[in-house]
């Protein structure tokens, strides 16, 4: 076999052995890909869930009672009836996100056709819940009111109806989304940490210098780290996808898993190159920690895996075009949720590949330079 390939293979095996000895790290990898994904995807949701709601009822009528009773899970907690005096304090303390204010003589006015208003006060500091909740409350309250007056007054017949079909996730279950996005976050984070730390550790222990007097060169050292760490993360990803996401969480995966893993592989190529880049820039572990946080956070939060990309400012969107995660998130969503095949996602694959090559080249050039310098 080719001498270079052999070197890359042997050095990679060395990386794997080193990792195997680091039990804390192994446990950590295991946790983030199993328990971590489970807890995160089960716990958090950005859509409305068990939202605390209260009603200030000035009317005390049959209709207002019906409105109070109309809130229940999973979107809302049962509504609490509170005094007007407590409304502000409750919102201030974050005890309620929504407070409905039913005016006096509400029922009477409704029946008289005076179209009274129900006031909804919303704590808009948590925006996604605020907006979605406002829509639900409107539907629920108006539904109750209309049902109450049905038969008593004649309402205009709607001639145009909409029939909404939610594709890919008909019930909009949040952990279908959260679990896979968390998986992607873990891929990004771990591959960067593992390779970055591997470089810094070798430098701190002087083994990097030692390698340089061996008949190996920078590109071999780097490729060895990239393939070995990518393999670990890829294996963990495949396992997690099968056992945790599909198995325990029961998320239906629409598309071809191998295609997704191919994308993950390319993504790993890019992120582990980033890891090496950071490991080369950082002179010691504390520096690496700080730089890493600065890179990982934006990579995770701005790639479209947390909030929709199209809503971000243009500049952010443009910058994030060169981040591999952006394309990987889009690719993963397309394959796993929407069942997209190769014919649809190939441009994304190509983009990740191009970005990977770019990052690898940049990391290699920096790595080479730093080796030449550090041996001084």
């Amino acid at each position: 076999m080719n001498r270079r390939l052999l070197n890359v293979y042997n050095l990679g095996i060395k990386e794997l052995r080193s990792l195997w000895r680091d039990k804390v790290m192994l446990l950590l990898i295991l946790w983030v890909f199993t328990g971590g994904i489970y807890t995160v995807s089960k716990a958090a949701s950005q859509e409305l869930h068990n939202a605390p709601i209260a009603v200030v009822d000035h009317d005390r009528s049959v209709l207002s009672e019906r409105i109070v009773q109309s809130f229940y899970g999973p979107y809302f907690l049962p509504a609490e009836r509170i005094d007007a005096a407590k409304e502000d304090a409750g919102l201030d303390a974050g005890r309620y996100i929504f407070v409905l204010d039913v005016p006096p003589d509400f029922e009477k006015d409704v029946l008289a056709g005076r179209e009274p208003d129900v006031q909804v006060n919303i704590d808009a500091t948590s925006m996604s819940q605020a907006f979605i909740g406002a829509g639900y409350i409107q539907n629920i309250v108006l539904g109750e009111v209309n049902a109450f007056v049905a038969g008593k007054r004649e309402s205009a017949d709607p001639v145009i109806a909409t029939e909404a079909h939610v594709k890919f996730n008909p019930n909009l279950i949040s952990f279908w989304f959260g679990s896979v996005m968390e998986l992607i976050n873990n891929i990004t984070m771990l591959s960067i940490i593992l390779t970055g730390a591997a470089v810094v550790r070798e430098r701190e222990y002087g083994t990097l210098e030692h390698l340089l007097v061996m008949p190996v060169d920078a590109i071999e050292i780097m490729l060895a780290k990239v393939w070995s760490m990518s393999l670990v993360v890829l294996a963990a990803t495949a396992m997690s996808l099968e056992l945790v996401v599909k198995g325990v969480l029961g998320v239906p995966v629409a598309g071809a898993v191998p295609l997704f893993l191919l994308g993950a592989l390319l993504q790993l190529f890019a992120t582990s190159s980033i890891g090496i880049f950071l490991g080369t820039v950082a002179r010691n572990m504390p520096q690496l920690g700080l730089i890493m946080i600065l890179v990982i956070l934006p990579l995770e939060l701005l790639s479209g895996g947390v909030t929709p990309r199209e809503s971000m400012p243009r500049a952010v969107q443009m910058v994030m075009e060169v981040a591999p995660t952006t394309h990987f998130v889009a690719l993963a969503q397309a394959i796993l949720y929407r069942g997209a095949g190769f014919s649809i996602v190939w441009p994304r694959l190509l983009a990740i590949l191009a970005i990977s090559v770019g990052f690898f080249a940049a990391a290699l050039s920096l790595f080479r330079k730093s080796l030449a310098r550090s041996s001084g």
Partner: protein, 909 residues
């Protein structure tokens, strides 16, 4: 010589690391008031024994009595700790490399509760006495090995110990520095008559000057007595021979004096040639016009003080560094770092152990055998041969990092020769290796040179090794001072030995630079109790805090990132994360294409939420474009929509929403319903002229605290706490583990500092750094991003202070039980990211969390601070509203700190 009872009394002491027994059944009385030495090969338990006596290590078996009390008892350890000084093995291992000479000594003074003028006076005196005064402001990391050891001694002597424990203090130090070091110790003892000194050493010629010795082998004591007694008992003339004579029969077997056959090669056959080799690092000239020629098959020795340029020269000859000027030739061709071929002909062994500590001995050898492409069929045999040859067979399966230094060095050499190189370049290969092992090592070298024609270029501190070389060159301050056969050099200087000749040469080039100042001794009665009496001493805490701050301030990258990192992230996230769902791409499959259908589409396109894309042509196209993620919403208008509408028939428009991102899907559904209702109203108005009453009641929505419903106002108060989690906790997490990895944690074990003082000192430094960062964050939020703080700034700052104290505490908890920096980094990153991003109310209110997440959310301080931050930023709350959250958050501070104090050990296990 000895006076009174023993200073340390050991009874049946045993110590194991895992399955390996390092010390077994040692019973020993170390006499007080004299120079006592532990001698013996590496890995026989000398260091372990010293650590036990110093109280640094937990006693596993047996009894250890030091200074008249049981070291297993915590109160006794506390009481005697200020009377013991411990200098661990390794050059400057307990020093802080970024701190200057003066700062290091002052730091130790603070740990022992020395104050004000007295401290300054003693620091000055110690520096003057040791000749370090001219380098007072130089960072410890930039000192030579000899100077580091002198500094270590200063730090050990600052508190006037009764027992000074030195673990191989002169290993890796040049002969002149070594001589100066021992003179210094002699002067200290002259001034403080009662002081006991206990030294472990690998240099037998040093041990010969001690008053009392204990020879150790394989975890046991072989013999004790004065050097003369030991020599008399074995009937030998020097201690080297005496020690070998003391060894059990099977260890002695095969040992004989090293004999070097004279070299008989061709003087014209040059292997290495250097001409005017020069290397400058900035203004500093490391190597200054060095000329060398080494002949094929020769053993060429390189002797010189630390930092004199030996290593740099060797690196230039291997091509690791480019020379600034001059040239080097290897086997007749210029040295080329890129030439893989020349690397195969040379074996190089670096000064420090630089193999993979986590790999086993065998794996290390196999890896290198593979990298040098030894054919598969010969590989296993070659590794077995080398294992056997270097006496490594019994360690083959051990992780090489856990082995004693001497054995690791043997492994390094084994790795360097695995591929049968023609030339070996060895940079101080025998530092810290005991005499028997060194002799064995040399026999290997001689065999390689004489029988296989391998050229050997070796640097060393040991004079007897220098004597074995065919030729040596003496180097100092980047220049070669002398180069000839060892005997010729001795003769030229009219000296009795090579060591004398070398010291003579060094003196000649340096001038008489040694100082002979008085070693200070605290006046009677003036000495404090070293702070042992008080439980918590703020002075020691501040000493650690000041030290930590200095380190951060001197690492520009860390400083910039810890201060500005958060600010940069705030800008990125504040602008980038948004919960406004806008610019949704939608397209229409219009099967009707009538004025009515176009009217409906026009209504949708007018909304700021939707961006219209090119029309859809078919159902397949709809599926494809949605699967691609190109479209967030698709509308399908049925055929005959316009006709049916005009005829008063009910029509249904199909809406397809991409639900892959549930919260976005939910929002889209809301938008569509709203737009549709609005359209119907408009339609009725246009057709009938009267506004339709679509409902019997209306809904009036008021978005509180954020009337404009702007993402930035919602995000900034939530992102701020997020940023005050990551960087502070990572900073502290690495703070403690780093000391563990680099070895300075010994100072916590060996000095009276308590765990709480150490931890609070560390934490204090990073709380301070984080608060500066907090102020930056606030400034950017209010003045740049324009998010007004409606509540009180003072309350906010107070809450931030408490919060940062909690988050730095969280980092401490991690670092107290994790062993490596990597694990601390990864662990802290994973947990803080997980908890903060998901469970703390950043995206989902804590009230809505369920399952384990809700518990996790409550168990970390983030959720409370997010509530406080939102309350103060957007709701104009004051302390009266937030105090319950404030209290809960404050509760985390003592909990975390106590947890880390419990997890951190005061002794090594």
């Amino acid at each position: 010589m000895t006076s009174g009872g023993p200073v340390a009394r050991l009874g049946g002491v045993g110590l194991s690391y895992g399955k390996v027994e390092a010390v077994s059944g040692v019973t020993l009385d170390v006499p007080a008031g004299c120079m006592a030495g532990l001698i013996g090969p590496d890995g026989v338990g000398k260091s372990s024994l010293l650590a036990l006596i110093a109280g640094v290590r937990v006693i596993q078996r047996g009894t250890v009595e030091v200074l008249g009390g049981d070291m297993a008892r915590r109160d006794h350890r506390r009481a005697v700790c200020p009377r013991i000084a411990y200098m661990p093995q390794g050059l400057g291992r307990n020093l802080y490399m970024t701190l200057s000479v003066r700062e290091n000594i002052t730091f130790f003074g603070n740990l022992f509760d020395l104050r004000g003028e007295e401290r300054t006076r003693r620091v000055d005196e110690l520096m003057a006495a040791t000749g370090l005064a001219p380098f007072a402001d130089r960072p410890a990391g930039k000192l030579s090995g000899g100077m580091k050891q002198k500094l270590g001694l200063c730090c050990a002597l600052i508190h006037d110990p009764d027992l000074l424990i030195l673990d191989e203090p002169t290993t890796g130090v040049d002969p002149l520095s070594r001589q100066q070091f021992w003179k210094l110790v002699g002067r200290v003892r002259a001034r403080r008559a009662g002081m006991s000194v206990l030294v472990a050493t690998a240099y037998m010629e040093e041990a010969e000057r001690f008053d009392w010795l204990a020879a150790m082998d394989a975890g046991r004591v072989l013999a004790t007595g004065s050097p003369a007694e030991l020599m008399a008992r074995t009937g030998t003339a020097d201690l080297d021979a005496a020690f070998i004579g003391l060894l059990p029969e099977e260890r002695r077997r095969g040992h004989q004096a090293v004999v070097v056959a004279p070299w008989s090669g061709d003087a014209a056959d040059v292997a290495i040639e250097a001409k005017g080799l020069t290397k400058k690092f900035g203004a500093f000239t490391a190597v200054d016009h060095v000329d060398l020629d080494i002949r094929r098959g020769e053993i060429f020795g390189f002797l010189g003080s630390n930092g004199c340029g030996k290593t740099t020269t060797m690196k230039m000859l291997t091509g690791l560094i480019e020379p600034t000027s001059g040239q080097a030739r290897l086997f007749g061709s210029p040295v080329d770092a890129r030439s893989i071929e020349s690397r195969r002909r040379v074996g190089y062994m670096t000064q420090s152990f630089s193999l993979y500590g986590e790999l086993s001995v065998r794996d290390n050898l196999m890896l290198h055998a593979r990298l040098f492409h030894i054919p598969r069929e010969r590989r296993a045999a070659r590794v077995a041969e080398v294992l056997d040859h270097f006496g490594l067979a019994k360690y083959a399966a051990d992780a090489s990092g856990d082995l004693p230094l001497g054995i690791r060095q043997r492994l390094s050499l084994a790795v360097a020769v695995i591929h049968d190189p023609e030339m070996l370049i060895l940079d101080e290969p025998t530092s810290g290796v005991d005499p028997v092992a060194r002799d064995g090592f040399w026999r290997l070298l001689i065999d390689l040179s004489r029988n296989r024609g391998v050229t050997i270029f070796i640097s060393t501190h040991f004079m007897n090794e220098g004597e074995r070389c065919d030729r040596i060159s003496l180097m100092h301050a980047g220049r070669v001072l002398a180069c000839d056969a060892p005997a010729a050099i001795v003769e030229a200087h009219g000296a009795a030995s090579l060591e004398e000749a070398f010291i003579d040469v060094l003196r000649g080039s340096m001038g008489e630079g040694e100082s002979e100042g008085e070693i200070p001794v605290a006046e009677a009665g003036a000495a404090s109790d070293g702070g042992a009496g008080r439980r918590f001493n703020p002075r020691r805490m501040f000493a650690f805090m000041g030290r930590e701050l200095r380190e951060v301030l001197r690492d520009p990258v860390r400083l910039v990132f810890s201060l500005l990192g958060s600010v940069i992230l705030l800008l990125v996230l504040g602008y980038g994360i948004t919960f406004d769902v806008e610019h949704l791409r939608f397209a229409v499959l219009d099967r009707d294409d009538s004025p009515e259908s176009r009217d409906y589409i026009y209504n949708m396109s007018g909304s700021r939420y939707f961006d219209r894309q090119s029309p859809i042509r078919s159902t397949a196209g709809l599926d494809r474009r949605m699967a691609d993620g190109e479209l967030a919403v698709a509308l399908e208008i049925p055929p005959d929509y316009g006709k049916d509408l005009r005829a008063g028939r009910d029509v249904t428009i199909g809406v397809w929403i991409d639900g892959s991102m549930p919260f976005r899907g939910e929002t889209i559904r809301g938008y569509i319903e709203g737009l549709h209702a609005q359209y119907l109203k408009d339609l009725t108005l246009r057709s009938t002229g009267i506004a339709a009453k679509s409902s019997a009641a209306g809904i009036q929505v008021r978005y509180r605290y954020n009337q404009g419903f702007e993402s930035l106002y919602a995000m900034v108060p939530a992102v701020l706490p997020l940023l005050l989690v990551f960087i502070p906790s990572i900073l502290t997490a690495l703070g403690v583990v780093r000391e563990k990895e680099l070895g300075s944690i010994t100072n916590v074990y060996a000095t009276p500092v308590t765990r709480l003082e150490f931890l609070l000192g560390k934490q204090g430094a990073y709380v301070l750094v984080s608060m500066v960062s907090y102020l930056g964050l606030m400034a950017v939020s209010v003045f740049w991003l324009g998010v007004p703080l409606k509540g009180s700034f003072v309350t906010m700052t107070l809450a931030a202070l408490v919060f940062v104290s909690a988050t730095t505490g969280l980092g401490l908890v991690f670092s107290s039980f994790v062993r490596t920096q990597v694990a601390a980094l990864a662990g802290t990153a994973v947990i803080t990211l997980l908890v903060t991003v998901t469970f703390s109310g950043l995206t989902t209110p804590v009230a809505s969390l369920q399952g384990p997440g809700s518990v996790l959310g409550q168990l970390f301080p983030m959720s409370y601070f997010i509530t406080i931050s939102r309350g103060l930023f957007t709701k104009a709350l004051h302390f009266g509203n937030i105090w319950p959250d404030f209290l809960k958050m404050a509760l985390f501070v003592p909990v975390y700190t106590l947890a880390s104090a419990l997890l951190l050990r005061k002794q090594e296990k």
